[in-house]
């Protein structure tokens, strides 16, 4: 059998880099906007922001098509944007408006767009792991080359569903990529306290699958590792655990006082270790993006987000009849 060519970040085209940078900016500006609007009290419910972790969602989804599925978490806005969900529809959903992606019935924690392969943000920690292997099972039964990606946090790695799902994906060689966003905290408890292992990718050894840990604030590292894992899955070589070490720029939820955070780590994350700044530098030094292109994309994204906010604010709330519609397909 011919050896497969390994994916390398060096193969990234300028076009891909442009898409990646735009998606990262969309996530960052979307989350910053939601943060500000939430503070003003205009967004109902619970909101968990993804800012700081952009390199993970974008670096992985850069290898996926609409036919591939992802499962997400309560911190799901970034996954939605990276998987191609409509930004106007997302913002309207978070505002609880009828024009939202889920007609305003899901909200921040349940944004989904099955037509884009986005199987939903999820309010239950650990729930996405079995769901991802189900999408992988569909691909296997239907004999397609689609893959399923499960984004989950370090907190979920202590949940039984993680071990059940990884074990089943391994014994059935399912086309699944388990992407752990290890941001160092499960709610307000540290990863070091809550997990007996030092590295979540180490679990891969026990399940006899490939495991790897990368710098999750470094887009090229995530992009390269995910590219290889997705390719292995498409070739029928089974699942991978990809652990991405990252950091949550905001709190667990909006309103979190974040007293458990180390100030120096937080400062570094917001400055020299910022995922977007690091990708800007990478793209410029590798001649993938110029300063002008970066400025153009920044402005384009600002216009997109402004449009989304206006769209959401001007959209009506759902009609009273919507309380009890969509409970069943038929009843």
């Amino acid at each position: 059998m011919q050896a497969e060519k390994k994916a390398s970040a060096k193969d990234m085209t300028a076009l891909k880099a442009s898409w990646i940078y735009q998606k990262m900016q969309e996530i960052r500006q979307f989350e910053n906007a939601v943060h500000e609007i939430f503070e003003k009290g205009e967004i109902p419910g619970f909101v968990h922001l993804y800012a700081g972790e952009e390199a993970v969602a974008v670096g992985v989804c850069a290898h996926l098509t609409d036919k591939d599925s992802i499962t997400s978490t309560h911190r799901g806005h970034g996954h939605c944007i990276a998987k191609g969900c409509d930004i106007d529809g997302m913002m309207a959903e978070i505002f609880g408006r009828s024009t939202g992606l889920c007609k305003g019935k899901g909200g921040s924690m349940h944004i989904a767009d099955v037509s884009k392969g986005m199987l939903g943000a999820n309010g239950i920690v650990g729930a996405g792991l079995p769901l991802a292997i189900g999408a992988g099972l569909t691909a296997k039964v239907k004999k397609t080359d689609d893959v399923a990606v499960c984004f989950f946090g370090d907190g979920a790695s202590n949940h039984g569903t993680f071990h059940e799902a990884v074990n089943m994906a391994a014994i059935w060689k399912l086309p699944v990529l388990f992407v752990c966003e290890n941001n160092g905290f499960g709610e307000a408890s540290t990863f070091d306290y809550a997990a007996a292992t030092d590295r979540i990718s180490e679990y891969a050894k026990a399940y006899k699958i490939v495991g790897e840990t990368v710098d999750g604030r470094d887009l090229p590292s995530v992009y390269e590792a995910a590219g290889n894992a997705v390719a292995r899955a498409r070739r029928g070589e089974g699942p991978t655990i990809l652990e991405c070490l990252t950091y949550r720029d905001y709190g667990h939820f909006e309103g979190d006082t974040q007293t458990y955070k180390d100030k120096d780590v937080q400062d570094r994350a917001l400055n020299e270790d910022d995922a977007i700044l690091r990708f800007q530098n990478y793209a410029k030094s590798n001649r993938l993006l110029g300063e002008d292109e970066i400025k153009t994309i920044d402005a384009l994204v600002k216009a997109e987000i402004d449009h989304a906010i206006k769209f959401a604010e001007e959209s009506p709330f759902p009609d009273a009849s919507q309380v009890t519609t969509d409970v069943y397909v038929s009843y």
């Binding site: 499962t71 019935k105 199987l119």
Partner: protein, 344 residues
Amino acid sequence: MTIKMSYSDAINDAIRLAMRKDENVILIGEDVAGGAEVDHLQDQGAWGGVFGVTKGIVEEFGRGRVIDTPIAEAGYMGAAVSAAATGLRPISELMFNDFIGSCLDEVMNQAAKFHYMFGGKAKVPLTIRTIDGAGFNAAAQHSQSLYALFTHIPGLKVVVPSNPSDMKGLLLNAVFDDDPVIVFEDKTLYGMKGEVEEGFYTIPFGKAEIKRAGSDLTIVGIGKQVLTALKAADQLAKKGFETEVIDPRTLSPLDEETIINSVKKTGRLIIVDEAYPRCSAATDIAAIVGDKAFDYLDAPIKRVTAPHSPVPFSPPLEKLYMPSPEKIINAFSLMVGDKVFTTA
């Protein structure tokens, strides 16, 4: 044309018909075939489920569509939920309904809510088959009847077949329904024989069956308690009272109309349910009738149920625990205020 078939064989027949009709139908669960990767079995199954209900199905459809899982209910139930959301029609077996504690999230928060939370844009055509019922000396963790738990959750459909013919038609309806459905198989009915129509047919949800017509009393039986109700009705007939026995067949949706119309005619209602008495199918039906047909009632509604207690192991205790024709007749005698019928 009908043939005589057991409740168990009716399930097996329905699954095969569904799998022949649509290649997206898969059967998944613990030892639904059994013996996976045992050298001398190859593509033969070992058990076909813990009661042999799905025996022979792996031989017809292969292990690609008849999938033995590890004993990991949350993992495979969650997988079945999203396999359904991404294009398959899984029949997922939860061996005993008592094991729902290990995968309630997957059923309650995922399967039941996708359609609603995602604004109607996702559907979960999942069928969960599960074993319930006391009377098998299986004790407190293998004998419960937990259908009320699922009836409580919007987004789920709940099916409680009482005989082989209903089982086949309702199970086939479940598999080709676009919502998540949970079908309860009472383990004590697996050997029950009955006339079953050959070939493919479905029975719609939310349509109760009047098993016996009467004008003096309505009894609604849940699952196998339909049979207890029919026995009580025979005995009451000998004393001159005509009982209408209703099998709701599905608890969600519930055919309220048939029950209410019957009560309007008889003025009396007993609900027979072997599940726990609190927040149950029995209390639910009593509340609905109290609300919508109060003026037609000649006596308080009576519920003949299990006590508020786990299912005991010891055979004499389990017998005392269950509803019986005698308990039903006692309840009726209290309703008509006639001590002649008091047997206890």
